[in-house]
């Protein structure tokens, strides 16, 4: 009897820890050069907050011995300027010879190449009933002066034209001139002006839409979102109903060629009592239809598990509800301390379980309806927009509720596709595989 026996560990000593020690440390944890071992130990291997750059590690500046550097206050001219203005700045002078050449920042003075047209070209290609030549001339003049800043140009323009109109005129003229001057269309087909002509109507529409979005109030935004989600729900329930109908058809026809039972066949699962329970719920019909379709498709299988059948029926029953509602039904079940999946899924238990779920769905719908009504009567004008789809959640709390006391829920078997190690893998010792980390089935 030794400590290992007491702890319930196997007696084999573990070879791995020794191996680990001999292994060199990882690179990331190695002490950087230039810091003494003692100082580095104080940091515990953690990177320091302040950057500490080791001077030795920096690149040496290359400076030949025979260079003598001075800084001088010298005059310079800027070729980007046309007024020959003389300004002064500090210049690095090597061995008494100041640098020659242009001012180093002059190259950044970019200017736009605005097309110049001759009178003849204007007569031939550029006539536009909406524009006079004087206006066009002025536009191009301003375009050059303000480097195509059309907002500024529109501001300075003598007659009142919108930015879009100005742009349209400028780009169409430039394009026409370009095309007229090109020796063949292929030469300029790649030019951006030719490839992507300015579309004034689209541009106006784009700006209108943008300004609309920007000027929208929170209220309107919410209203829109609601309408969209509502529409989505409706279309979803229609789709589900349609799918149910489609699924029903082949089954009913296969039951009897004479069609004697066609009318009665698929309805037995959605008994009239269910229908009564869920009065006041809008997508009722599709719910019953779905249930019928699910039952029919189950019958097509020649063998199935009861739990599978329940899953299918639950899905069918809640297909018209949103994801959020389904979640709330499950939450409700937990509050009632009912297993989300029955532990003993007999036929009777499954039927009861399904009924319970349907009733909860009805209950939630009623809650919503009631809340809508209450708010509607207090201020009618905004009854629709002001009720988001979350009714106050805790309106109903079952008697025997303690929150957070979730009934342990069986984890879906198929989710646990994790393959554990088997028997013949002796390289990793048994203890290391003892973790209680596995999410596992209860019971």
């Amino acid at each position: 009897m030794d400590a290992k026996d007491i702890l319930g560990l196997p007696k084999i000593s573990l070879p791995i820890p020794q191996e680990k020690k001999s292994r060199p440390q990882k690179d990331s944890q190695r002490k950087p050069d230039g810091i003494s071992r003692e100082v580095y130990a104080l940091t515990g291997g953690v990177a320091p907050l302040m950057p500490s750059v080791d001077v030795n590690q920096l690149k040496k500046r290359h400076q030949p011995e025979n260079e003598k550097i001075t800084w001088e206050w010298l005059a310079f001219t800027n070729s980007a300027r046309k007024d020959n203005l003389q300004l002064y700045h500090w210049v690095r002078v090597v061995n008494g010879t100041p640098p020659t050449g242009d001012y180093s920042f002059a190259k950044y003075n970019k200017s736009v190449d605005v097309v110049k047209y001759t009178d003849e070209e204007y007569e031939k290609h550029l006539m536009d009933p909406a524009w006079t030549k004087e206006e066009t001339d002025q536009l191009f003049d301003l375009c050059e002066r303000f480097d195509l800043r059309f907002v500024v140009i529109a501001d300075r323009f003598s007659s009142s034209r919108s930015v879009e109109e100005l742009k349209n005129r400028y780009y169409s003229v430039s394009r026409a001139v370009l095309i007229a001057r090109a020796p063949s269309p292929a030469d300029i087909s790649g030019h951006p002006l030719v490839k992507e002509p300015y579309n004034i109507s689209q541009e106006i529409e784009r700006k209108r839409a943008l300004s609309m979005v920007l000027s929208q109030t929170k209220h309107q935004e919410r209203k829109d979102a609601e309408v969209i989600s509502e529409a989505k729900k409706i279309s979803e329930s229609r789709m589900a109903a349609k799918a149910a109908q489609d699924a029903e058809l082949p089954v009913t026809s296969s039951i009897s060629p004479e069609g004697v039972e066609k009318t009665t066949a698929p309805v037995d699962t959605a008994s009239p009592s269910n229908m009564q329970v869920s009065v006041g719920v809008a997508p009722l019909m599709s719910m019953a239809e779905n249930a019928a379709a699910a039952a029919a498709s189950l019958r097509m299988l020649r063998v199935y598990l009861r739990t599978y059948a329940l899953d299918q029926m639950v899905q069918a029953a809640s297909s018209s509800a949103g994801l959020r509602t389904i979640k709330r039904v499950e939450q409700f079940l937990q509050e009632l301390k009912v297993n989300l999946k029955p532990k003993v899924p007999t036929k009777a238990v499954c039927a009861e379980h399904l009924e319970l779920r349907k009733e909860i769905l009805t209950l939630l719908n009623l809650q919503k309806l009631l809340q809508n009504k209450e708010e509607g009567s207090s201020y009618r004008e905004s009854s629709y927009t002001e009720t988001p789809e979350t009714p106050k959640d805790r309106a109903f709390i079952p008697d025997s509720v303690s929150f957070g006391a979730m009934s342990a829920e069986r984890v879906g078997k198929r989710d646990q596709k994790r393959k554990g190690p088997g028997r013949e893998a002796p390289s990793s010792p048994a203890q290391s595989k003892r973790p209680r980390k596995l999410k596992a089935t209860d019971s």
Partner: protein, 270 residues
């Protein structure tokens, strides 16, 4: 072509307590027999179901444990109260972790169980094959082998096994006549009340009264099997439904009050 159609009330479909009465009348039961040749006569709108429990039970080997064999475990498919499933199931295939030699284990006769030694937990795929007259399709189950209890954190015990079991029911919709006749009185199978006029071929006469339901005798692991109580589950559900229904009634009342008061409010304002 012969066709027998008859109506029956499903007032006592099976022996389950608290079976919810299906208010819709049971559908036509219909036996189709094409030229008296086809061997499979299907009976519509009847379902035969077989309650099963599947799972694993594992014992820690204690001092005998080695690095690769710390536990001895058994995976099984059994009748819910340990009845013999051989009447329905022909063969069960357990797919073990690939590190086992012959990872695909076939059990050809009851009891459908498999005992192994190992140290790791993994998912076992269980494929159930049925007799020819029952169903030609297989059924797949998945079960996670559990060696270490999640509930009890204490020292391991060699005495008490770790058990994880699931109850489920195998359902055969529209069973064949032959199958129905064979299992009609078998304890492992739940067959709904048959209409009196239905003439089944004579089934096996022997051992009808030999075994009763709930016969959990003489299984070496029998004492550990979990007993699944349908009644408890039904009781809980009934309570929950009562609560929900009460609340629905309350909500309806408030709703109708609101609807009633709304117009009166209006008239008083105007």
């Amino acid at each position: 072509m012969t066709r027998i159609s008859l109506l029956s009330d499903q007032n006592d479909s099976h022996s389950h307590a608290g079976e919810e009465s299906d208010s819709t009348p049971h559908q036509m039961i219909e036996i189709e027999d094409e030229d008296n040749k086809s061997p499979t006569k299907k009976i519509k709108d009847l379902e035969v179901c077989v309650p099963i429990v599947y799972g694993t039970m594992s014992f820690w080997l204690g001092r005998k444990a080695t690095e690769t064999q710390s536990h001895m475990w058994t995976v099984y498919v059994r009748g819910a109260t340990n009845e013999d499933l051989g009447v329905v199931i022909k063969r069960v295939v357990f797919q073990l972790h690939p590190s086992f030699t012959n990872a695909r284990r076939v059990v050809e006769s009851p009891p459908f169980e498999l005992t192994e030694r190992g140290w790791g937990e993994f998912e076992i795929a269980i494929s159930i094959f049925f007799h020819d007259d029952v169903c030609d399709k297989q059924l797949d189950l998945f079960h996670l082998l559990k060696l270490y209890s999640e509930v009890e954190h204490g020292p391991l015990s060699t005495k008490k096994p770790v058990i994880v079991e699931s109850y489920d029911e195998i359902v055969f919709p529209d069973p064949s006549e032959e199958f129905l006749a064979r299992v009609l009185n078998h304890p492992s199978v739940i067959v709904p009340q048959l209409p009196a006029t239905l003439n089944l071929p004579p089934g096996p006469i022997e051992d009808v009264h030999e075994k009763k339901r709930g016969d959990t005798k003489d299984h070496p692991l029998g004492q550990w099997f979990i007993r699944f109580s349908e009644a408890d589950e039904l009781l809980k559900l009934a309570e929950a439904r009562q609560q929900v229904q009460n609340y629905i009634v309350k909500l309806r009342r408030r709703l109708s009050m609101l609807e009633g008061s709304a117009p009166t409010l209006k008239t008083s304002v105007s």
